[in-house]
């Protein structure tokens, strides 16, 4: 078992990162904030994938690479594997995690410390805001997956489906 740190270190780092980019850096441009968060994830995924595949032979096809993400890679990060993998055999894969660790710990904080969140959102309900923040956090693991696959020579686009929280499905579309 490699070196460990407390889970709250990673959780808090992520919360602060999302908060910084959404509320301060690009508070009026959520698309730019999302792109930054995804880019940070990409960097992390790329490097982790490189470390975890150093001693392995290349994957024979896309499916093998995706399975690696679902099993070994996910286990290194979240101590569990992806629960369900689906594919249409035409370059789209859906990776479903029934209890995605980073979502289970997230609670939306309505306290005055986040008062600046509500100022610009006339008509936006707290629930909308909560959904938006959740989506922002999820750009990070989307980036991680995209970065990891990119390191394996597989360019793709990754999005996430959260219609069934705390389960979430990462949709990977491989670019031809």
């Amino acid at each position: 078992m490699g070196r460990e740190v407390s889970e709250s270190c990673v959780d808090n780092l992520m919360i602060e990162m999302v908060s910084a980019y959404c509320n301060r850096f690009y508070s009026t441009k959520p698309e730019l904030a999302a792109r930054r968060i995804e880019a940070i994830g990409y960097q992390v995924g790329h490097q982790l994938s490189e470390r975890y595949t150093m001693e392995r032979p290349r994957f024979s096809d896309h499916l093998e690479a995706i399975k690696f993400i679902c099993k070994d890679f996910w286990a290194e990060l979240f101590k569990k594997q992806i629960d369900n993998l689906k594919t249409n055999h035409r370059g789209t894969f859906v990776l479903q995690d029934n209890r995605f660790q980073w979502l289970t710990r997230m609670s939306i904080d309505p306290s005055p410390a986040n008062a600046d969140l509500s100022q610009d959102s006339s008509g936006e309900t707290a629930e909308n805001r909560a959904v938006q923040i959740t989506s922002m956090h999820l750009y990070f693991p989307c980036g991680i997956i995209r970065g990891a696959l990119s390191n394996l020579g597989i360019p793709c686009a990754v999005s996430v489906d959260t219609s069934n929280l705390p389960a979430c499905s990462f949709v990977v579309r491989i670019k031809a």
């Binding site: 490699g2 070196r3 460990e4 740190v5 407390s6 889970e7 709250s8 270190c9 990673v10 808090n12 780092l13 992520m14 919360i15 602060e16 990162m17 908060s19 910084a20 301060r24 850096f25 930054r36 880019a39 940070i40 994830g41 960097q43 992390v44 490097q47 982790l48 470390r51 290194e76 990060l77 101590k79």
Partner: protein, 176 residues
């Protein structure tokens, strides 16, 4: 009934949820890299990592202190010396899994150095020549400041980081 005895740093760390330190190290590295790209000036990034505005170690500190006090059962520190020891031994251990040593006390006992010889934040990290002025670990300075302010001390941690990876936080408090 006697209050529960304070737990040692090792005991607390053994009981918190832990994750792969590489994820933490690489995420922090990616954040710093992104901040450097977005802000361009090393001085600006130093400030960001510590306390000003966008990405704040301070915000992380104010969250961590609650978890720390709850899980460690540490009773109120008698004086600043004890505070420094608690941070170095229990605090760092509980979150980063490593302890720091407290050295270089000044004559009044109002400032000291916390030295982290083995810091997961800097695993595999090498600063390029263009970033020689960067206080890579400045987030720790903000975290400690945030935590201590919540615990009702107002310190002024300043941070230095040597390139061998040994990190040094200089803690100073107001003399009584």
């Amino acid at each position: 009934m006697a209050p529960p005895a304070p737990r040692t740093g090792d005991a607390v760390f053994a009981n918190v949820e832990r994750v792969n330190a590489e994820l933490f190290t690489l995420t922090y590295g990616a954040i710093v890299r992104q901040l450097l790209t977005d802000l361009e000036e090393v001085e600006e990034v130093n400030k960001q990592l510590d306390q000003i505005s966008i990405f704040r170690g301070y915000n992380i500190g104010i969250r961590l202190i609650d978890e720390f006090l709850t899980k460690s059962n540490i009773s109120r520190c008698v004086d600043f010396k004890e505070t420094a020891e608690v941070i170095a031994k229990a605090g760092f251990k509980m979150f980063l899994g490593v302890t720091a040593s407290v050295t270089n006390w000044d004559a009044d006992g109002t400032s000291c150095s916390l030295v982290l010889e083995d810091n997961p934040l800097v695993d595999f990290v090498e600063l390029p020549d263009t970033c020689q002025g960067l206080y890579y670990c400045n987030i720790l300075s903000g975290v400690i400041r945030g935590a201590l302010e919540m615990a009702c001390i107002s310190p002024e941690p300043n941070f230095w980081c040597t390139h061998q990876g040994m990190c040094l936080v200089r803690l100073a408090t107001h003399p009584r």
